[in-house]
Symmetry: C2
Subunit: 347 residues, 2 copies
């Protein structure tokens, strides 16, 4: 196997950062088994991130393992009252059904982009790898990250994005095939027709850039890892298979959907955040149309759904929950993140 780029003694397995369903415990378990553990930073504010890193950094130091902290780099949109009103009108029947007064539901952004405040927290901990989704931060912010020697990774969904990332300072490109769960990382074009499967995307990115390429999308077992390495990847990033591990914080309802062969397919939807992301079909996606333009701009779609999700989940229903998943959930059978990591590496 080719040497991973972060530590020559490690396995070429990266645990994908998955905001909302995992924190330090999963990352530490993966690191302990020889993989690269990742902490998703998108849903923390600066204080929350500091608290979490106060847990994670000592665990990683103890394990002698590098780790990855991941952030979104979107622009928070200006408040758009018309779009918010349209979204609430679309959801009005659901509010009525659940006895929720929409006037009591706050608007707002559920996810924070990478910022100077966040960079300041990271400077205290100096994580060895910082990864981004939706491009890269502005040059001054990126320079701050590079200043403590961090490797910068980011996701590309097309060859053009991979070249852009290399030109703008990414040390590693993650080739995110269309099979991947969660948010699509595209940032140069919103045209979903341009998104490719891993089998087509990965070798074309490997040939186009000179930096190491990590493969993501559709990889759920050792066969997938071997396939990605054959296509030229230096390592693979796996998300879905880790969602059912004991060390993840995935809800019981989400785990049940992942493990249920009768649950629907995992398809792209804009409904939960405003950007296309892959998750298992549920009631909202069926009724509103998974890619409906009624959802307002990322990340403002989430706020209005929050009370609906809470009410439904309290009743054991996933009607309004994002059930993030890739197209291959066959790996969701292993409860131990350490065993999963080693199994992915063929050990």
């Amino acid at each position: 196997m080719p040497k991973p780029v972060w530590n020559a003694t490690q396995l070429p397995i990266v645990q994908a950062p998955m905001a909302g369903v995992q924190r330090s415990r999963l990352a530490a378990a993966v690191a302990g088994a020889g993989g690269l553990g990742s902490l998703p930073g998108a849903m923390f504010d600066a204080a929350g991130l500091r608290t979490e890193l106060q847990t994670l950094a000592p665990l990683m130091a103890q394990a002698g393992a590098p780790y990855n902290v991941n952030f979104f780099v979107h622009q928070t949109p200006a408040p758009d009252d018309a779009a918010e009103a349209r979204w609430r009108a679309r959801l009005a029947p659901y509010f009525a059904e659940h006895g929720i007064d929409p006037a009591t539901v706050p608007a707002g952004a559920g996810r924070q982009p990478f910022s100077a405040q966040i960079a300041e927290v990271l400077e205290e901990f100096k994580p060895p790898i910082v990864s981004f989704h939706f491009g890269l931060p502005a040059p001054a912010l990126l320079a701050r990250v590079k200043a403590w020697g961090a490797q910068v990774w980011s996701s590309a969904t097309t060859v053009a994005e991979a070249l852009w990332l290399q030109q703008h300072g990414a040390d590693v490109v993650i080739a995110q095939g269309l099979e991947a769960g969660g948010h699509r990382g595209h940032f140069l074009s919103d045209d979903l027709a341009l998104q490719s499967g891993t089998m087509a995307l990965l070798p074309q990115i490997v040939d186009a850039v000179s930096v190491p390429v990590v493969a993501a999308g559709g990889i759920a077992d050792a066969r997938g890892v071997q396939a990605a390495l054959a296509l030229g990847a230096t390592a693979v990033q796996v998300g879905t298979a880790y969602l059912c591990c004991d060390e993840a914080e995935t809800s019981a309802l989400h785990r049940a959907a992942l493990r249920d062969p009768e649950a629907g397919a995992a398809v792209l939807t804009r409904l939960f955040t405003g950007r296309p992301a892959r998750g298992i079909v549920n009631r909202l996606m069926r009724e509103a149309g998974a890619l409906s333009a009624d959802a307002p701009a990322f990340p403002t779609a989430t706020a209005a759904l929050a009370p609906l999700r809470a009410k439904a989940e309290a009743q054991g229903r996933t009607d309004f929950s994002p059930l993030w998943s890739g197209q291959n959930r066959s790996g969701c059978g292993e409860p131990s993140a350490a065993r999963l990591t080693r199994a992915l590496a063929g050990l």
Copy 2:
């Protein structure tokens, strides 16, 4: 490498049948190099197929090689005057631009489904492999094919389709990942959101069925072949990379688009036939919307486009031409089908 299923002495490389862009010459060249050559039957009537097989069968006998003849198994739709009128109304500005009187343009089906007449021709030649797209023929017709000992292959785009094919008599399942060029083979659901990339689809089909699985979609070089074999495929089917071979009948305009890195992406479109198929974006796709519902049912969309395509191509334009291509056209550099076949196999 695992043994191919059709002949233990052959390479695990199947040349994809590609209606309209290749005939016997390509199939024979691939067979001569140790791969499996395929003849697309969808655009022949019975007499035309007989003539073509009178060329192909002796070539294959001489080479001691098996071969594959491929057919579509759609239902020809009942004539739908309203749909045809809507389609012609959509195309009216193009007819006017090109000085074509639409009243002179015949309607009709450009592709014939597998039929008793075709089976009768095949019985004369007894091709060792008969493959189908869009499912399988009716049981009585399928029994005729099996009666001379032919292996029956068909494409699956989901695990459910793979199981259906196995249950209904397919000897080999082709796992067609979303990356593939040309027509999507789905037949149990028209929902394109259910279509998976090869990396996710292939191992799940391999695990679900007991028959051999051939991988298709996104495979353009020896790395892709190795990846597909690692995922459990018995062999791979490659289309796009063969399109630029000298032995194919691909038009010069189509070849130029395949080889032009500045040509657009290959996306799914309904416009050229009425069913979703992957081709490089051109003027009609941009202006009409690649998946527009204005195109009438498969395969009736083709007829009205034929004179537009002819006029434009005569002027060196691909505005109305189907530029079939998968998502990975990096293999379109090798003019020799024999060398390409051996290179795919890593020789």
